[in-house]
Structures are given as C-alpha cells and as structure tokens.
C-alpha cells in the first residue's frame, strides 16, 4: 500500500527527485521486486480522502487511474513502474515499462448475479399484491423487511426485484458505494461509478467477517457494506449462525458498521435495505392450510426454528409479511394487472423526493433512517393516528421501538399517497405492515393509482 510512497519519500530525501515536485502529491501503490507497480485495493476512498484535504495531484498504478479519476478536481497520473514515476517527477522522458497486471479480483465472491439485476422485473411476478405493496413501501422509505413463507412462495424472487424499484444513486451515494467496492477490491479497471443500487445475497454459511467486514490484514468491507444504498437479502436467515445475526444489529440501527481490529477501528457505510427471508420450518414445506401441508419437521424443530425468527433482530425490522404458496389462480386471472418495476420506481422516486424536501436540513434522507425523537417532536402523526398507535402500545401489541418503526412507516405510506401528514389511514396501514396482518384491499387499490 505504502511501498511507492516510502520509496519516493526516500528518493526525495536523498535528492534523487526534486522535493518541490512532491509538494501536494499523493502516491499510492505497491512495488514488485523488479521495480514495477502493483495495484492496491481502496484507491478510490484514499483519493477521496486526499481530495478532501486539498490534494490535487495523485499517482496511482496505471490500471487504477480510471478509478482515481472518479474523484472530481484531482489530476491523476497512472504509472507502470518506479522508474516511470521518478522520470515523471524529474520532468524527464518517461521510459517504457511492462504493463501492470490488474488486481486479481474477488469478483467471483461478490455480486451473485449483478448483471442479472437488470433483467428481472416486477412484471414477471403474478399476484402477490400484498407483498408488492410492502416492497414498494420498503423501497420508498428504506425500511427493512422480513418475508416468511413456504418454499416457492416467491420470497427470493420479489426480494431481488427491490433494487429495480430504487432510483439511480445520487453522485454522493455512488461515490460512497464505489469507494466501498474499491476497498473490497471488487472494482475492475474500466468500471465506472456504480450508479445502480446493488444487491447482495450472501449464503447462510457466511462468516461474520464476510458479512459485516473484517478479515486478516487490511479490513475488507463485508456484504452489508457492499450492498450500501441497495438491498441485502439474507435468504433462509434462521440458518445463519447466531453470532452473524447478532453482528447485524448495529448496522440495522445506525446504517454503518464499525469493525474493530487489533490496531485500528474502521467505520464503513452499511445503509442498505435488509431483507430477511425465512421458511416457516426447517424443511420449508409447512403450510398453515392443512390441505397442502407437507411438512416433515418435528414440532421441536419447528419451535427451535421459529425462536430464531423472532428475536432481537426482528424487532429491528420494520415490515413483516407472510407469503402464501403461489397458486395457479393468480397466473390464470385474466384481469390481473402486472405493474412493471419502472412504474413502481416512478412512485418511489416521487415519495423519496418528498422525503428529501422534508429532511433537507437533516443528516438523513429517508423515513427509515429518521431518528424517533425527531419524528415525534417535529413530524408527528395526526392526534387520532397517534392515539391509534398508542392504543396498540397499551395493548402490548407493540414495543416502544415498534412505535417508532410504525411512525416511520406511516410517513412513507403518506409520502407514497401524497398525504401531507400521516393520519389514521396511514397509521393503520403501517400497523398492518409492521405486525404482518394482511393489508386492506383498499390500500392496494389506492397504491396502484
């Protein structure tokens, strides 16, 4: 990481290169034994940090020049060898050098199906109106989501369509996300800024380090950071190890993750929409409807499994939906309307713009990230709606944390409907979304315009 910088510093101290040329210069890269440069992960965030401190000239290994150049206002020099750098600094003709190998990428580990994200569309799914509305709310307000249902009920299909409902990333978000990917070494030369929300779906045997970040040597961002501004799907999440699930608690609340290591503590952004998908039992064939129930699990197994679903983690989830197994009926319904992702994205974009206006002077952009006290004092529900939510608290159907989540959801429902303050209707919808109760058909009708 600092090889090149150390070498240049020594050369400067011994007078081999003029020190004047080193003023305001940042050099990044490793050296090979024959004096060639080697790529390093995290060029983008380093250049961003340098630019933030007023640095205007950067030297990086050639394949990473493109990445460094994403930072506005910085002049980037891509070099192949130490000799080239020295020649450049001395203002001499630059010698030939062998091209630098691009970083051996961890692309295979990242992005399960990143390219596929453009091909999946909400229009492919039939029925599921209830869940469609829920993911629209999740997308509009940045709310976490728990989907439970038997195998084949479409949990994964609908979850991987959520990124398609999100608007393009803002420039700021794009830089943050691309910086994380640079740090993860998941950026190929020629890759531009990531402008579309990412989707990550780690397997359930993932380690804590791979999910939230860490690892030996330099800190590598975990899947949750790679899904920053996008969607992180934990499919069959009760099968994840307990310590992995617990490590998610902090990022779910705060939107960032601090990875502490022997020497350093790094804070990485981790503000994604987390989607937890769970089967109703370990075998996945349990149906509440006895006529189609084919579950082979023992009652003890089911109980253990359900205990994992309802824990501290689910209290941090805004929306719960219970999906039923897909029936042929929906597919054969001649009057079914199949909205495309683009149509929903339009409504989501409008709802997000309303939030951006409202929170213009705040540190957050979406209802899902708004702190509870601020909502309670400055953006309250109507008195009648507040009374409705309060009633649920008294009845013990809602925790204190749940009240805040309902409040945030009510705002998103209002923003989608173009309502200026969440009233009884919006709070009612929010309560249903939170508790997992089925929505009112009228809610879905209004949503579809």
């Amino acid at each position: 990481m600092f090889d090149l910088a150390i070498a240049i510093a020594v050369l400067g101290a011994t007078g081999a290169v003029p020190t004047a040329a080193l003023d305001g210069l940042v050099v990044i890269g490793e050296l090979t034994l024959d004096g060639g440069l080697r790529c390093v992960p995290g060029v983008l965030p380093m250049v961003m940090a340098a630019a933030a401190r007023g640095v205007r000239h950067v030297v990086v290994p050639e394949p990473q020049a493109h990445e460094a150049a994403m930072v506005p206002g910085v002049e980037v020099l891509g070099m192949r060898s130490l000799a080239q750098v020295v020649a450049e600094l001395r203002d001499e003709p630059v010698p030939e050098a062998a091209p630098v190998a691009a970083m051996s990428s961890s692309r295979l580990l990242a992005w399960r199906g990143a390219g596929r994200m453009d091909e999946v569309d909400l229009a492919d799914l039939v029925g599921m109106e209830d869940t469609r509305f829920a993911v629209e709310v999740a997308a509009a307000g940045g709310h976490h989501l728990l989907l439970s249902g038997p195998k084949g009920s479409g949990k994964t299909s609908i979850a991987e369509r959520i990124p398609g409902l999100l608007p393009d990333l803002t420039r700021e978000e794009a830089l943050e996300l691309t910086a994380v990917h640079s740090l993860a070494g998941a950026l190929e030369p020629g890759d531009g800024l990531r402008t579309r929300p990412p989707f990550a779906s780690p397997h359930h045997d993932a380690s804590t380090a791979s999910l939230v970040g860490g690892g030996s040597g330099a800190v590598r961002p975990g899947e949750i950071s790679r899904a920053h501004c996008g969607v992180l799907l934990l499919d069959e999440f009760p099968l994840f190890r307990a310590d992995v699930i617990n490590a998610l608690r902090q990022p779910l609340e705060s939107g960032d993750i601090s990875v502490s290591r022997a020497q350093e503590s790094v804070v990485l952004p981790a503000r994604s929409i987390v989607v937890l998908a769970a089967n109703p039992c370990p075998c996945g064939d349990y149906h509440a409807d006895a006529s189609v129930d084919r579950c082979k699990c023992r009652e003890v197994q089911r109980r253990d499994y359900r205990r994992k679903v309802t824990g501290p983690i689910t209290d941090r989830i805004d929306i719960t939906r219970h999906l039923t197994a897909a029936r042929p009926t929906a597919r054969r319904d001649p009057l079914a309307v199949r909205e495309s992702s683009a149509e929903v994205r339009e409504r989501v974009t409008v709802a997000r713009a309303r939030q951006a206006d409202r929170y213009a002077d705040e540190a957050w952009r979406l209802n899902g990230h708004a702190p509870g006290p601020a909502l309670a004092t400055r953006w309250p529900l109507t008195p009648a709606a507040a009374a409705l939510v309060d009633d649920q608290l008294w009845k013990g159907r809602l925790t204190r944390r749940g009240v805040t989540r309902v409040h945030r959801l009510a705002w998103t429902v209002a923003d989608l409907a173009g309502v200026d303050q969440p009233g009884v209707t919006e709070a009612g919808v929010a309560l249903r979304l939170r508790s997992g109760e089925p929505l009112l058909a009228a809610t879905l009708r209004k949503a579809a315009g």
Partner: protein
Amino acid sequence: MSAERLARLALSRLGEPGDLRLAHWVTELGAVQFHDALRAGAELDGLNTELAARLPSVEPERDLERASRLGIRWIVPGDAEWPAALDDLEHVEPLHRMGRAPLGLWVRGPLRLHELPTPVAVVGARSATTYGTDVATELAAGLARAGSAVISGAAYGIDQAAHRGALAGDGPTVAVLACGVDRAYPSRHKPLLDHLADHGAVVSELAPGCSPTRPRFLARNRVIAALSLGTVVVEAAVRSGALNTANWASGLNRPVMGVPGPVTSAPSEGVHQLIRSGAASLVTRATEVLELTRPAGEHLVEPLRAPSRPRDLLGHDEQRVLEAVPLVRPAPPESVARTAGLGLVEVRASLVELRRRGLVEELPTGWRLADDADQG
C-alpha cells in the same frame, strides 16, 4: 307475451326494485291490467298519485330498442331464460320493507340465467383484507373448477376477487348490479364488468342508465341470494351489506356459509357473529361449500385427520412397551418390563416386534428407541 314484457318493463320503470305494492298489484291484477289501470288513472291505494310524475316519461318500446342496440336483453317470468329460483322470493318475508321477485331482469352477456350450473353466491366486504380477497379468489376458483357458477356483486374487495377466481377457474360468473348493466360502478371496475359482459353475465333489475342508490343495493342483494343455491360470506364487518345478502339466503331457506378470519380482524367480525348465532355454517374451502350446496350426499367431505403414524398401528401392549423403552441409555428387558408393568415374556415378544417395525434397537447393553423413531 309481448304486452306482458312491455307492461312489466313499464312498471319496473315506475317504481323502485323490491317495491312491495307493485308486486302486490301485479299478483292481484296481472302486469298488463295493472299497468293499464294506472294509465287510466285508477288510484289503487294512492299509488297513482305517487307514480303520476313518472308515468308520462315511461316509453317501454324505446327502452327495449335502445337496450338491444347495446346488446342488453330484458327477461321476465315465463321467458325460457327466466331463472325459476327467483320465484322463491314470492314466499319470503320482506326485509327493510322490500322483497318479492323482480318484475324482470336486464341481462348483458352470453350466459343464460336459466342454465347456470349449481350457482353459489360469494359475497363480502368492500373493505376486505388481502386475506379475504385471497380466500374469496381460491374459493371461487375451486367452485368454478367443480362446475359451479359464481354469483356476486361488482364492488371492490370480495366481490371482484370472487369473479376473478371464477374466471381463473374457467367457470361461469354473474355480477348482479344495483344500477343499469351498461354502467360501470365503481368506475374502476369497467374492465371487470366488460370482461363479464363478454364471458359471463351482468344482471340488474334497473334499466340501462340508472344509477345506484342505497336502497337499490339492499334490493339487489335479494337477487344475488335468490339466484344462488347457497351464499358464502367471506369477510363482512358488523354493518356490511353482505350480511343483508346472508339474511335473504336464510329467508329463502338456502344454506348460508361463512369463512372465518383472525379473531382480531374487524372485517371478519360480522362473519363470526353470523356463525356464532348459528345462522351460517363455517366453511374453509370449496369442497365444504359443495357439500352444502350440491344434492345431499354427493360431495361429502372427509373429516380432516392427523396422518397415521407407525405407532398408531401398534397393539395395546406394544404401545406400553414402546413408552417404557428409554430414549438414550439402553435398558435390559427386565427393566423395560418393570416400567411397562408387563410380564417379561410379553415384553420380549413386543420388543422383537417393535424392532421389526424399526421403532427400537437392540444394543449389547439392552434396548432403546431407534434414532429415527417417530417422537410425536
């Protein structure tokens, strides 16, 4: 016959659906004579004064002509298409001072009302939940696949879910409206109503162009109930119109059925009350509706039973022995016999039989439950 059709049309134009006095005089005098009497200015209990304002504007021939241009037909009792099931309304106590059979029906769509196969009404709340609409859709699809026609209104919520289920099940489906069959009410349901007019039937007592009113919905409900062999209510709050339809079905002595919901759900409260009061049978799926609406004994539903497990097939002694075999640490037959309270000879015999069935295993130190023995 033509005179009868025209007279009934004119009379239906004069009064509101379910008007008891109109029905009374039609029975007393016959539709043609009653209509002539009104036109001649006969008072007939003050009816004339009340209807006089409407009399001059009624032009039944023009109505018929305009309707046929729109592909709408007018059917009356005595027509081949007239569904005889409606005549049962003549013997039902009025509700909300409305009742009796309709004077005639306007029909739009290819379905013939006298040929509806074992029709079932599926009705419920407009303010339904997605649980209710899903259940209504599945129920209607199941009925359609079993060959039943589905009858409902055209409201949001359960009504439309029922029609769409029936269509998905490739079955005939009929919407009964409280306005003219050429009107789309609610207007969002125009695609649904147009589809029904192409593939099913849209029916109303009210002439084309008429708009819906509250009393017209109440009168309409009796037609839904009377066209059907039975009425299923899926989600209805305590004041839902669907309960009115259920009352009509009760009055007609036709089966009333209710689909339960979560006990905490307001849109299911009306149904729960209906079931609690004994007015409705609880149904959860199409086969249970068929059991109640098809000829007795044709569609008996087997009571649901827990699946039988290997240990259900064991004899009395074997079960006692199995209960006495330890789960983890093997026990000798003597110990098992003590626990089971049975003789050693029976226990040895039972253990061998249980091993044959794979429920227990023998180790050098004794017997214990087999690993995969069903614990339930």
